[in-house]
Subunit: 664 residues, 2 copies
């Protein structure tokens, strides 16, 4: 079979070694190797085929997920895949299902909050998947505010049991993935009550369904919460509801690492530091940041390749039209997203390091860096997931009308991605946490306590509050020091302005609530500085491979200068740059776009995505888009017959003006 590469010309233009860039993108040769092997394993296995998802009924889609999940687990066992390989294989399976929650939430919750004995008992079952678990925290009426949960776990000393109960309709657990139809067990969160006293929200292991016939146990009402955004997407998953009617569990199913209830019903806090819980949060959020880069890269890969294939206008003599990727308007929207994908990749890499560092410190009971690490991961989770959601939709629009076709892969990618803005902390709520941390840091300036980590720049407040940017020509905007200083000045000045405005209020909380919108903007500025500074640190370090470093530098400055333009109001109103300097930045940006242009297709090839994973006719590696669009169209059930079902009942009576014969 002959395979023509319609994008060969584009690939020949590249000024760097794509294979070297693949290693940089993956993080290491080993990571590349694992990712490359697992993605091909999935792509070549017919069970993982996914092109029919859009026309499957809910039940078919759900059953298809069960099949893929069990098959994946079988492969993981048969091929004796490592944890790292198994995780990659599941991610390339690319269909939300119960495995995600079992491995991503249920098992870690027991590891983090269970005692040694509890871990021994439950993890041996869970890691063999003899039980399937989910994580049931959110309730119908309670999302972000965990402390507002209503489910109760009341200790009954007579029987040495907890009575789990849902006192109201709004206290139903609602949303947990894998809960609706699959899970046999759950870690649930409920208010612990002993001797009439409410000790706040705690975790419990609860069996939901019989291991013999899968029927829900007496006292448990459970089901699926219904269709969600998109076609395919999370409809493959049984997000569920759960109500308890005085359901009893043994006392030892409370997760007791941090605090316990004795046989007598006494509540006792253990000496294990509570901060350990935040360590887990740092872990989960760093993986969300890493997934953001993966998802955004996917959309950018599709939009970049199709922008090179697609031609519109530009021919005044009937000749070939211009590739849309050559238009500045297209570059101006697309290349910053390409740069963002790389930016999020590298900040995600750094977050992995941060997590390791925090973990080491926690083990040595050093909690000093935790608040900063916590704020930083919360902020980066918020910022990268918001930018990725918007970016995916922008990539869809960049593909013109065809981006609206399901087979472009973009509608599904969007629908499956957007919940990341809400789960694991609503993005606005998270930015407010960052803002609180910043306000605290500002208030301690000059107190002798030097800010550290990502807030270290605030220690140079004196300089940053009075400096003015030294940019004199467009080239200066490629100077890392000048770029960083502009972002630092902007972030610090916004934070200080907020702090000053807050201080005008007698009641701090009321001030905080009045200034919420400004505080979110200050937090965003701080987070953008982190991403820019980590990207600059990356490109200033050692990078191997022919031409690779040059490309990454271009992307780094595109990212920074695009942010500068997008948030120009911040930079100007804080006097961090002048209008003339901003105009020079735009000039530099245009020049960088021209430098990226010949490398664009190769830069998305470096993501090493298979066509099967991309799932996009527009983003095909070989650029053979149009014949394949036809092939896809012909598969639609509506094309099963030439004359459609409904002709006799509706169309014919209409055009023959015989309404009485219509089936209305």
């Amino acid at each position: 079979m002959e395979r023509v590469d319609h994008l060969a010309d584009e690939r020949n233009k590249a000024e760097f070694n794509v294979d070297d860039m693949k290693i940089v993108w993956a993080g290491s040769r080993h990571a590349f190797d694992v990712s490359n092997r697992m993605s091909r394993l999935v792509a070549n296995d017919p069970v993982f085929e996914k092109s029919k998802r859009a026309v499957m009924s809910r039940k078919e889609l759900f059953k298809n997920t069960l099949r893929k999940s069990v098959h994946a687990w079988k492969l993981i066992n048969e091929l004796r895949l490592s944890d790292e390989e198994g995780l990659k294989l599941r991610s390339f399976m690319d269909q939300p299902g119960f495995l995600d929650l079992h491995w991503g939430m249920f098992v870690p919750a027991i590891k983090g909050q269970g005692t040694e004995e509890q871990q021994q008992k439950w993890l041996s079952l869970a890691t063999k998947m003899q039980i399937i678990g989910c994580y049931a925290q959110t309730e119908l009426g309670h999302g972000s505010n965990v402390q507002g949960l209503e489910t109760t776990a009341t200790f009954d000393p007579k029987t040495d049991q907890f009575i789990i109960h849902s006192p109201t309709q709004t206290s139903s657990k609602w949303w947990p993935g894998g809960l609706g139809k699959v899970s046999t067990h759950a870690v649930i969160y409920a208010r612990l009550i002993t001797n009439g006293k409410d000790h706040g929200v705690h975790g419990f292991i609860v069996q939901l369904r019989s291991l013999d016939d899968h029927s829900p146990l007496p006292g448990i009402t459970v089901g699926d919460i219904g269709m969600k955004f998109g076609n395919g997407a999370y409809n493959s998953m049984d997000n569920g509801f759960l109500m308890f009617d005085h359901f009893r569990i043994p006392r030892d199913q409370m997760l007791m690492r941090l605090s316990k209830v004795t046989r007598e019903g006494k509540y006792v806090a253990s000496d294990v530091p509570r901060q350990l819980v935040y360590g887990t949060m740092v872990y989960v959020r760093q993986s969300i940041v890493s997934n953001a880069s993966t998802a955004l890269a996917r959309a950018v890969c599709i939009a970049t390749r199709y922008s090179a294939v697609r031609r519109q206008f530009g021919s005044h003599d009937g000749g070939i039209e211009t590739q849309v990727i050559d238009y500045k308007t297209q570059q101006n929207r697309l290349f910053p997203l390409l740069a963002s994908a790389y930016a999020f990749r590298f900040v995600g890499e750094w977050l992995k390091w941060l997590y390791t560092d925090v973990t080491k410190r926690l083990e040595a009971s050093d909690f000093a860096t935790l608040p900063e690490a916590h704020a930083c991961t919360a902020g980066l989770k918020s910022m990268t997931t918001s930018a990725t959601s918007d970016g995916i939709e922008e990539c869809r629009k960049l593909c013109g009308g065809h981006g609206y076709l399901w087979c472009s892969g973009l509608p599904e990618l969007f629908a499956v991605y957007v919940p990341a803005c809400t789960y694991e902390g609503d993005n606005v709520v998270l930015q407010l946490q960052v803002a609180r941390f910043l306000m605290k840091t500002v208030s301690q300036l000059g107190s002798g306590k030097a800010p550290s980590g990502t807030t270290a720049y605030m220690g140079r407040a004196k300089h940053l509050l009075q400096c003015s940017s030294g940019v004199r020509n467009a080239r200066d905007w490629l100077n890392p020091g000048m770029v960083l200083e502009a972002f630092e000045a902007r972030a610090l000045r916004m934070a200080v302005t907020c702090a000053n405005n807050l201080s005008k209020f007698e009641n701090q909380e009321q001030g905080f609530s009045e200034l919420l919108a400004d505080l979110v903007e200050a937090a965003t500025a701080h987070c953008q500085l982190i991403v820019v500074s980590k990207f600059i640190a990356k490109v200033e370090g050692d990078i191997e491979g022919k031409g690779v470093k040059k490309q990454l530098k271009n992307l780094c400055y595109i990212y920074a200068l695009y942010l500068l333009h997008k948030h120009l109001g911040d930079f100007l109103s804080t006097n961090s740059v002048t209008p003339e300097q901003a105009s020079l930045a735009n000039q530099q940006l245009r020049s960088l776009y021209s430098q990226v242009r010949p490398n664009a297709v190769a830069l998305v090839d470096a993501f090493d995505y298979t066509d099967q994973y991309l799932g996009s006719v527009l983003g095909r590696y070989d650029g053979n888009v149009y014949p394949k669009l036809f092939e896809e169209a012909l598969k639609d059930p509506l094309n099963d017959s030439v004359v459609p079902d409904g002709y006799r009942e509706y169309i014919r009576p209409l055009i023959k003006q015989r309404f009485r014969s219509a089936k209305l």
Copy 2:
């Protein structure tokens, strides 16, 4: 049956008469009456039920659309509804289908481009729906660039026929709604060729299918292009592809109002001015602007009501939590969208007037105002549809996790709305048209030709280029003159800067292409000025009803000051305002939010949407959200059985560790 209004408290807070506001929103008492009656007619008719769309298969959904469409047409006939009433009824049907294209594109194309005789012949069939038509312009490889279409219509003098042919795969018609399975006829666009000469793209009436058995005529290949974004949404519609293999039509099926081909094959332009075609474009685009306000209002209505129902945080003593609508972060995102919905409503109203005005002038062969009207409608189409798409998704996020449920109504609304950014002119391409017009206007300043209409402000260039804003305190931002001047200065200065930068290029076209991104921003600034100025004109005029004017003034200034904050970089870099003035604007904005807060629910009630049309559990009029979410969930097919289909084949073998018995 007792009906409790959970939002009664909110409604009692309102400081204006909602019924009066309903009239203002609708445009007139008559328009309100029609809209009110038609929406209730649809809501109370079980055929129009739409809650099951998400779980219908493609074929079921398509057939359901046929049924609804034919039923709607039957009602229109039986009840002898006026054109206005019929249009409203179809819009409340709220399911894309062939009626939209037949009435919205096929019939107007014949009216606009057909000769008297052609109109007589074809409209008499079309208006009785004895034929069903669609509008086939876009091709697989050709969207925005109409002049690049490849389909040919070659005149054959021997037979007095045109031979319609698709010479390549990319020349297939692709996207036309109603084409895939339903239409019997189409207006198609093809390159007219006579005597070997290409006369460019012209319109032709083509029969596609037999009126006896609906089979495609020989030489015609036609089908559906497959699934699109979302669940439900445009999947109800048979967007189609179409290829011609030397298909012949009689000469008199070329639409010959503007130019014709004689029996001898001579191409003759008629004396009917070509500008008339632009009149139609003005009409279509003004209706898109009007639809933008309708769609955005729908999302805002859902988000506002649910923000009043939903409570999170804020209780430190175990009492009731705070309504999320009371948070400034929520107000800061929601109220500008509420204001935008009203803003787009009024600019749409004004566009209707503009269309009438242009039509009158065209009839009197006065083409002077057409370029300005054309640029203005193109720009407003672009700006309002982009803002509405983004706004719907923002409203979804404002509903927290539950916004992601299909039954929130928001995913479907988003999926069905976003194509508006692409069809009838890609939004970026349209802004470039506006930019070209602005550059021309700027270049003619001082030439004695005074700019008119929406560009009249450019006539005051001398003042606007050197003035500085007189705003001294927050209250000044409620001064219409000061607000307008800031927007005018910003728009003009951006346009002039672009023109200056353009003039530095030797080759104008190359300069234009290099500065595309800046030009789009200048065009956007001009369009935002139009919307702000029409909103101000509205609230400065006579408005009846208790408290109505005050509310609209609040919304008007929220809209303007929100834009000022969002595009602060523009305002500051052009020195149209100072950072201190911008800070006063934010202060005023916060105060306006507080004033809108008690009126928010009543302001969305004024849209007069029925619960059936809204199609949202979260946006229910009575606020009874949570019990209804449960009801909806229970309807999902996955809840048909307690133990799901797939248990025996997959879940049981997994937990029993017997993979060999799994059906993989």
